[in-house]
């Protein structure tokens, strides 16, 4: 007999934990339980796990597993909920120190998902770009497309950082809004709602072009840290083709230039 576990929303630790607890208490082994991942609307066969009869008491698990689960559940991989349950089952079945073995295939797979989510979280903190909302004082709006379902996880960071502003971050799946008092999380938004490009963006692009040293061109390194999938979200990325194309000629010009005599002997140290 196969049972079915539905986690809604798919990234929620509380929702997964509830289903996992019911399955454990009913003694349902991982092989007899289907998790719906993110397949919303596709009905898996079998009765829902909450209908399974309770046969034993709950299992207390370490905070390490819960923290890991909170992160892994944000991953878009459909198999993540089942994998977490399998690890829970193995720990409950006696492998008490399983989490401490980084080279166990299940733990390795969890750690890899955790790492992907943490990287995506870090990149969202880095690559969100706010634009001023015209006509509203100190109000900002950003459009972002995270790889994983991390908006709820990252939003408090933006709240702590930009407490004195009003802002909203829109993504395809979720939106976060801060009005200076309350953080609101809700359904996804539309890129078209983003305010138009403004003068602040032009100033930033001028800075970006000036801080680049053409003599050290290393696009491999740049791509590794700032993958191309994010470029359409970054105003400065529009400059890349030109900066890369001209780097060689600019460097050559610097290297070939003969030392010049100083044109000015005295400096005014207090210019207007």
């Amino acid at each position: 007999m196969r049972w079915r576990a539905t986690v809604e929303p798919g990234w929620s630790l509380a929702a997964w934990r509830e289903r996992a607890r019911q399955a454990w208490e009913a003694g349902i082994a991982p092989d007899h339980l289907d998790w719906d991942g993110d397949a919303q609307g596709t009905m898996l066969p079998g009765p829902p796990i909450q209908d399974a009869p309770r046969r034993r008491s709950g299992l207390s698990v370490s905070q390490v597993l819960l923290d890991l689960a909170a992160s892994v559940l944000c991953h878009r991989s459909p198999g993540r909920q089942a994998l977490l349950y399998r690890v829970l089952w193995r720990i409950g079945a006696g492998e008490r120190s399983l989490l401490g073995n980084p080279l166990d295939p299940d733990i390795d797979a969890l750690r890899r998902m955790d790492k992907a989510v943490r990287r995506d979280t870090h990149k969202m903190k880095a690559f969100v770009r706010f634009r001023a909302v015209p006509g509203q004082e100190d109000t900002w709006c950003a459009w972002f497309e995270p790889e994983h379902q991390i908006v709820d996880r990252v939003a408090p960071f933006f709240m702590r950082r930009f407490a004195g502003m009003r802002w909203s971050i829109l993504t395809p799946d979720r939106s976060a809004v801060w009005d200076g008092q309350t953080l609101w999380l809700g359904p996804g938004g539309d890129r078209a709602a983003l305010p138009p490009e403004d003068a602040g963006e032009a100033l930033w692009c001028a800075y970006y072009a000036s801080i680049f040293n053409p003599a050290r061109l290393n696009t491999r390194m740049m791509r590794q840290e700032m993958p191309q999938k994010y470029w359409h979200l970054l105003p400065e990325a529009r400059l890349l083709p030109e900066l890369v194309r001209d780097a060689g000629a600019r460097t050559q010009a610097m290297a070939e230039r003969k030392p010049q005599p100083t044109r000015r002997r005295l400096l005014r140290t207090q210019p207007k």
Binding site: W140, N213, A255
Partner: protein, 418 residues
């Protein structure tokens, strides 16, 4: 002068300072302060330029007017670059605007020397003060510290800044005398010592207050992210051994968080005093790798650069750890199931994290080849130097020069000006 023009000139003038770190400031946020800004320990790189360098801080000079004449510097008095000077208010405005747009973690402010060192430093401190006090800015601030500034000004700088840095500029005093005649090696080291002492005193005072009964308010933090410095590589004759010994002294003597190496690259309007050709950027890369071995891998300078290293220079073709292993084949293969941590750290291809994984994992089971795959370490580099239950490198270590040829990357196309 238009703000955009100034920003262009003063960012252009600042880009030869390699540091862009924004980590280590501890935790703080702006909830309930009415301001903006936070730091949470780990720095964030908000963008990358096509040189592969991260953009974490707004890195600008307050002014690139300078009365000094350091040969390696694009802003020296005898250079013909365009000059500009920001007002305090302009730097504050751009910092806050960029920060609100989430472009940056904060500000790294430096300056050419105008009038004198103390006056210049006061100008830098005023920007930091205004950000912190007038605008309740809780983002990251890194202030370049002018060695000639008075102790009082440096004390004020550390109250507002997360990090202070004084550039050592050149690895030897002789190099400094030749190329930076206005700078004094003793003055630089005295200022570093002063910053180091204040940071240590502040830590101790805060620790004492935190544990005292009754609990009393702790003194404000002084440069919580510590101090760092930068060395120009290749402008004077110092070899890599000299550079690394100099770094080692800075790490141990002043508790530097970081020593940055900056291979001097072609700059606009270069001085005739500089060598005609820039050193390969690979040299800078190897120095960073060696620096890492000193700080995290328990190597000594004399092991990284020893009698087997030609002319005190690091091998440009292979990284310094692999080079050490090839010079000491008798130390290998290392049995990953038995070797102590300090030996695992010496294995080419194993980083600190993977060493931790191996140590944790072998408490559960003995390692096999399949486990090595899960380390996602570069196996071609790793396998000749290690053994596990079902792997032994056999005779591969008997002929280090052949092994070296196998492991060294194929020579790439000569660089643009080769």
């Amino acid at each position: 002068m238009e703000l955009m023009h100034k920003l262009t000139v003063l960012a252009d003038a600042a880009k030869y300072d390699a540091s862009c770190a924004s980590s280590g400031a501890g935790k703080r946020h702006s909830l309930g302060t009415g301001g903006i800004g936070s730091t949470e320990g780990m720095g964030i790189c908000h963008s990358y330029t096509p040189d592969g360098r991260c953009v974490s801080l707004l890195k600008v000079l307050l002014t690139n007017f300078c009365i000094y004449d350091c040969a390696y510097c694009v802003n020296r008095v005898s250079s013909n670059v365009r000059r500009a000077r920001f007002t305090t208010e302009e730097v504050v405005r751009v910092t806050l605007d960029f920060y609100k747009r989430n472009y940056i973690e904060g500000l790294f402010l430096s300056s050419g020397i105008i009038r004198d060192g103390d006056y210049t430093m006061e100008q830098l401190v005023e920007v930091a003060r205004s950000l912190r006090e007038d605008h309740r800015f809780a983002g990251y601030i890194h202030l370049k510290t002018i060695p000639e500034a008075s102790p009082e000004t440096i004390a004020r700088a550390g109250r507002y800044a997360d990090r202070l840095s004084i550039n050592v500029e050149l690895p030897t005093e002789e190099g400094l005398r030749q190329l930076a005649p206005d700078k004094q090696a003793t003055g630089i080291r005295q200022a570093m010592g002063q910053v180091h002492e204040r940071i240590a005193e502040n830590r101790e005072a805060r620790r004492r207050r935190a544990t005292s009964t009754p609990v009393r308010a702790r003194p404000p933090r002084f440069a919580p992210a510590g101090q760092s410095t930068q060395m120009i590589v290749g402008a004077d004759g110092a070899d890599d051994g000299t550079i690394l010994r100099s770094s080692h002294a800075l790490y141990t003597g002043f508790r530097m968080r970081r020593v940055y190496y900056s291979a001097f690259s072609p700059i606009p309007d270069a001085s005739a005093q500089l060598p005609p050709r820039a050193p390969p950027l690979q040299r800078e890369h190897r120095l960073y790798q060696a620096d890492w071995l000193l700080r995290f891998y328990e190597f000594d300078v004399d092991e990284i650069v020893d009698a087997g290293t030609a002319g005190g220079m690091l091998d440009l073709e292979v990284d310094p750890k692999l080079a050490w292993a090839l010079r000491h084949p008798q130390q290998f293969p290392v049995d990953l199931n038995r070797a102590p941590r300090e030996m695992l750290l010496r294995v080419p291809g194993l980083g600190v994290r993977n060493v931790q994984k191996i140590l944790a994992s072998r408490r559960h089971a003995l390692l096999r080849m399949a486990d090595l795959g899960r380390l996602r370490a570069p196996l071609s580099r790793l396998l000749p130097f290690v053994s596990v239950l079902d792997h032994h490198p056999g005779q591969r270590l008997d002929d280090p020069s052949r092994l070296r040829a196998e492991l060294a990357p194929r020579p790439r196309q000569a660089d643009l000006f080769g």
